[in-house]
């Protein structure tokens, strides 16, 4: 491959694109950019045919790779550092720095005697955060941007072999990668002596097998090596001793997809977006109780309010915003007072949450924060690898307490124990999963302490989620007797004449909530049960 050939392909493919016009993903996940969005990572998603490398080339694809091969690896690292690109996988470690460390480690070690690759570049596509699917969108919609990013990163750090680790749950992403790889090889954009510059790099796909913890880089490395994905203590860091003991850099899909753009448009362009410490854009998957759920890409530093209300269209069904859950199971729940906080790595951490991979779930008044914490703990507990006791046992104990509380069996002492557990699990766990697993509990306890206390003291779930901890009452002064609730009630326990105040036969009500949903006039309220469970003997 030469630059002339690449330019020729670009010219031809632009023709085709121009004739076809823009097209978007069929399932409506990725809508056209909404006001406020800036698309860098998602630039090509839905606009090109991901199964045709020519269309990627039409969008300047692989020109960045050609460009950087005329630079020294050190220059590539410096330029990346200057751009301020930080890892989009969660922790936000500077990408250029990561490559620098790996390169340094590589220089201090002899090459493997058996001709094996001296260093590895791994693309972490084990997007496990529930509620996040930007990596899937990029891998499905623009696989070559990731491959090109990988090649650039590999050149910078000195790797000759790359792996894309993709979740098994993403068959389409796998398929598109499997199509992309031979295309890139055929054009000499992967393989030996790329662009005739003496740079060798090839990529293999590894499919995950259902373990959230494999998103942690040392676990991911173990998984690629064919073992149980169990994190190891660092140091040694993968940069020094990673895949098969060689220097390795693990970078997230979104991080890598940014890389070609940085070299096409320059570090200054990238650094011009975002905040002082968090540059560029970030994709978010907004979901939950929001009108326009979906994937967006916005400059760093935008506020949650802008995302939820301006881009997301606000809360569904005129409900009250309660919290935004960011950062997935290791992130936290932020209440309304953070709506105007600019979103960047540091601010989210300061608020007790995490950028994570960019999941943003909107919760409304009908979401119980104790139950949300329990939900996440159920997840992390199930996904704990089982190696260090603070995680495998600590999260189990946390889950048990949260379950007790949501079953009206919680005690005041449980709240103390929760705090004791969360503090120590976060300092004593081996990996980020264990350390971060407590964040949903910590943030909900910090910001929604009253809900915990109501659950424990009054055995009342004001959100109407925890079974047996509330009932529905029809408000006499609001009910206009429309009868919607009576018609919807599956057990016919609502009585009331037309235009007259209705009443629920509490003795026979199964608290299914159909009436609550059916009422258009907010005339049905969630109330504590008349016989509080607190009269039951408490355990512990």
């Amino acid at each position: 491959m030469t630059i002339e050939e690449l330019e020729r392909i670009r010219t031809e493919a632009r023709q085709i694109l121009a004739e076809r016009g823009e097209r978007f993903l069929p399932d409506g996940e990725l809508k056209p950019p909404r006001p406020g969005e800036v698309r860098v990572v998602l630039r090509n998603c839905g606009q090109i045919d991901p199964k045709r490398i020519e269309e990627y080339i039409a969008k300047e694809g692989y020109f960045a790779l050609h460009k950087i091969l005329n630079m020294t690896p050190e220059q590539v690292i410096d330029e990346t550092k200057r751009s301020g690109l930080r890892g989009r996988g969660g922790a936000g470690f500077p990408a250029g720095q990561k490559w620098f460390f790996a390169r340094q480690a590589l220089a201090s070690r002899p090459a493997p005697a058996d001709g094996a690759p001296p260093a590895y570049l791994i693309c972490n596509g084990d997007e496990g955060d529930p509620g996040a699917f930007m990596d899937r969108a990029v891998l499905e919609g623009d696989p070559h941007s990731v491959l090109e990013g990988m090649a650039i990163a590999a050149y910078a750090m000195g790797a000759t072999q790359g792996y894309v680790y993709v979740r098994a749950e993403y068959p389409v992403a796998v398929e598109h990668l499997q199509t992309a790889l031979p295309q890139a090889r055929r054009l000499g954009l992967l393989g030996k002596n790329i662009f005739g510059k003496g740079f060798d790099f090839d990529v293999d796909i590894r499919i995950g097998a259902g373990a959230f913890v494999c998103g942690e880089e040392t676990a991911l490395i173990d998984s690629i090596e064919g073992r149980r994905g169990e994190p190891r203590p660092r140091p040694p860091f993968p940069a020094v001793s990673g895949l098969w003991g060689r220097p390795t850099s693990v970078n997230n899909v979104e991080t890598l997809a940014n890389v070609p753009q940085i070299f096409l448009k320059g570090a200054d362009w990238f650094a011009g977006m975002g905040t002082e410490k968090s540059k560029g854009t970030k994709t978010f998957a907004i979901a939950g109780k929001v009108k326009n759920a979906g994937l967006i890409e916005v400059p760093m530093g935008i506020t949650m309010r802008e995302i939820i209300y301006d881009i997301g269209g606000g809360i569904l069904n005129k409900k009250e915003f309660k919290a935004a859950q960011t950062g997935g199971p290791l992130g936290g729940c932020l209440p309304a007072k953070y709506l105007d906080t600019p979103i960047d790595f540091e601010s989210l951490v300061a608020a007790g949450s995490l950028m994570g991979s960019g999941g943003l779930i909107v919760l409304d008044e009908n979401d119980c924060m104790v139950d949300v914490a329990r939900f996440f703990m159920d997840f992390t507990q199930d996904e704990s690898c089982g190696k260090c006791p603070p995680c495998w046992l600590g999260t189990k104990r946390l889950l048990e307490i949260l379950t007790r509380i949501t079953r009206a069996e919680g005690t005041e002492k449980d709240l103390e124990t929760l705090e004791y557990l969360t503090q120590n699990i976060s300092t004593a766990s081996l990996c980020a999963l264990g350390q971060g697993s407590v964040n949903p509990v910590v943030t909900t306890m910090r910001h929604f302490r009253d809900e915990y206390e109501a659950h424990v003291r009054d055995k009342f779930c004001s959100s109407g989620v925890c079974k047996g901890m509330f009932h529905y009452e029809i408000l006499a002064d609001t009910c206009n007797g429309c009868g919607a609730c009576r018609l919807k009630c599956p057990d016919k326990v609502i009585k009331g004449a037309k235009k007259a105040v209705h009443e629920i036969d509490q003795a026979n009500c199964i608290v299914c909530g159909d009436c609550y949903k059916a009422c258009k006039f907010a005339a049905i309220a969630i109330r504590p049960r008349p016989t509080p469970k607190s009269k039951l003997p408490e355990c512990g």
């Binding site: 190891r232 040694p236 603070p390 189990k396 004593a428």
Partner: protein, 364 residues
Amino acid sequence: MTILAINGKKIEAAGGTILDVARANGIHIPTLCHHAALAPQGACRLCLVEVKGMRVLQPACTYPISEGMDVQTDSPKVRTARKFVLELLLSDHPKDCMTCETCGHCELQDLIYEYGVKETPFVGDRHLFPPDERDPFILRDMEKCIRCRRCIRACDEIQAVNALTMMNRGFRAKVATAFDTRMQDSNCIFCGQCVSVCPTGALTEKDSHGKGRDWQTTKVATTCPYCGVGCNFDLNVRDGKVVKVTSAWNAPANKGALCVKGRFGWQFLHHPDRLTTPLMKTSFWKEIKGTEGAPSPYKGFVETDWDTALDAAAGRLSAVRSADGPDALAILTSAKCTNEENYLMQKLARKEIGTNNIDHCARL
């Protein structure tokens, strides 16, 4: 040399982990998943220490020292974290130390004591596995397993057998053979390396149960009587009986490793079949004594005393030598006996009988 500070004390060391350096300098850091014969894995979190500049506590067993490092090994934060881990472990552990085989040499028990954990604040599910007594030699009481994986690592790193693995994950994670079978149905070779490294009562020597607490036994260092590797081990003795064999980790030939025969094959010592008195063939006895003699459990033999037996043997051997010359006698000495005994046997053949007809089963 690297200069670092541990608990404010300046220390110079050539390298290694915080744990190595601390121990070399007499600073105690508790451990549980660590074992000197195994690669460190940093899993149990008992050796957590504070490293200045690090957000979370770090495991001393895997963390390499570096220039200017400032480490606290016993700060309140560290002690709290360790106690927390112990409380967690105790919440999933039976509290039957009174009857536990390992009581008194249980590393978990020692740490619970050291950290003064009286009661665990956690109430919840506990693993309830019945003790697995289906295998010979090794009794697995998985309720007592703290998932330190020393057994798995010993089976892998020392023995290269890999009979054991972790199965499942999280709270359901468990040490098991492939498909969680009895050990006999796996590729286990019953070397017992797993038992020797287990810090609790999860893996114990089945035949030693109830035969003596660690503090009730005397350990006698000796050399294995089976093959030619020359493994060293400790015979654990109580009331004049061997009750157990334990590893000698500094043994030059085997470095603590043993095979099934060395570790578990000691029961023959106290077998009722052992010969306890000299015997003479009944016909021979009658010939020299003219009486029936004391019956023995062996058909055609009578029991006798040492003097009678030795006098008779010496008399007959001398008679053959006188009649047919020294080379009509032959002696088989033994590759099972000591050097000293072999030396005496050949001295007896060469000096007292006058023949070189001495050999043993070296060739067999």
